[in-house]
Symmetry: C2
Subunit: 218 residues, 2 copies
């Protein structure tokens, strides 16, 4: 029982810090997305494609979260986007205080859009508010069409679903209609984009939507 | 600090229960593998292929671990293999006591080989001993060749790496040599099999190795 109590306290503390982050983002007019997915679903590739498409339209920045290495920060820094890497050293999710500390190291002057790329984990990050406008969950077609049913909390707590790697549909046992319907069964309000970072399909629709900076109804 | 202490106590308690499970497996002569990976890497498909190959050679059983649904248990039960589903209701990994309780519901008569399919999560299950002979980690080619560096604990704590979905190599930005080398950099003793559940490539090598029931040196 004591563990549950402490977990609740940890979450309460996290929510307080997240609320502070959210106030700061609102004051500065920064639209913040918390990008979540399994390892290897393509979060970093999606950021790369998004930077290519949007870099002349608005200033962006990134907080990268990884269990180990700064490989992702290296990748996105090639696009001239301000980036801070958080290495969790085994930690399975980002928390609001890690984001608050990372923000101190990030030059946010003129930044309109901030991506927080969470640790690759479809379970634990779902419960942690970082102060974002919304969570954007990525599922790739190679993971199969049953994943929304098997990992419902992340789907329920996200506002947008990016179905990535649609170029691989001919080669994998994944039915797009089933995947879409399974996701909407869990969260009927989910906004869905189907994209491929290899062919570029769907990227401009996603980026056009980003420009509007609208938070879907929850 | 109190949280860390409690986490340590949770792990100590888990290790005690895992030791009990391990004794029971040894007494009954059951070879137990703890199958770990990201969501959608193909753990259940690998089990299906393994059952097809080995069902005339030895009696097998499965404990399925999922955050939600019994979809995986339904899939493997088609092969006539005894199966118990653990639904963690949000929990991000299996623990030894869940496995101990599941064992009570499983008919182990004559079973030589028991698979524990863990929750799809490349981070949290790495620290939890369930009493298995070894962890078998699955990485699929679609996840990219950098994953061993980004999720080192799971690679370090596993004895076998199954590189799955090698049929998709022509279509994905994954170099098999790089993936293999990255994994061996973290864990030089890792036994590696490259497989495809679509073409069946590599499945017989994996199953031949399973028949030997040998625990690689750690």
């Amino acid at each position: 029982m004591s563990v549950i109590t402490i977990e609740r306290k940890v979450l309460e503390k996290n929510d307080q810090v997240a609320a502070g982050n959210r106030r700061m983002f609102a004051e500065r007019g920064i639209f913040v997305l918390n990008l979540v997915s399994s390892p290897g679903s393509g979060k970093t590739s999606i950021l790369e494609k998004t930077f290519e498409d949007l870099r002349d339209a608005m200033k962006m920045a990134v907080i990268e979260g990884d269990v180990q290495t700064d490989l992702d920060a290296q990748r996105v820094s090639r696009y001239g986007v301000p980036v801070v890497q958080i290495v969790t050293l085994g930690g399975c999710h980002l928390e609001a205080n890690l984001v608050r500390d990372a923000l101190e190291k990030l030059d946010l002057t003129g930044v309109e859009l901030l991506f927080i790329e969470n640790v690759g984990n479809l379970v634990c990050p779902s419960g942690y508010d970082l102060g974002e406008a919304m969570k954007v969950v990525v599922l790739s077609t190679t993971e199969g069409d049953d994943k929304p049913l098997k990992y419902p909390a992340m789907i329920r707590n996200s506002s947008v679903l990016l179905i990535n790697k649609i170029d691989l549909i001919p080669y994998v046992p994944c039915d797009l209609d089933t995947l879409r319907n399974n996701a909407l069964k869990i969260n009927p309000g989910l906004k869905i984009f189907e994209i491929s970072c290899v062919t570029g399909e769907g990227i401009s629709a996603w980026c056009d939507w980003l420009k509007k900076k609208e938070t879907p109804a929850r």
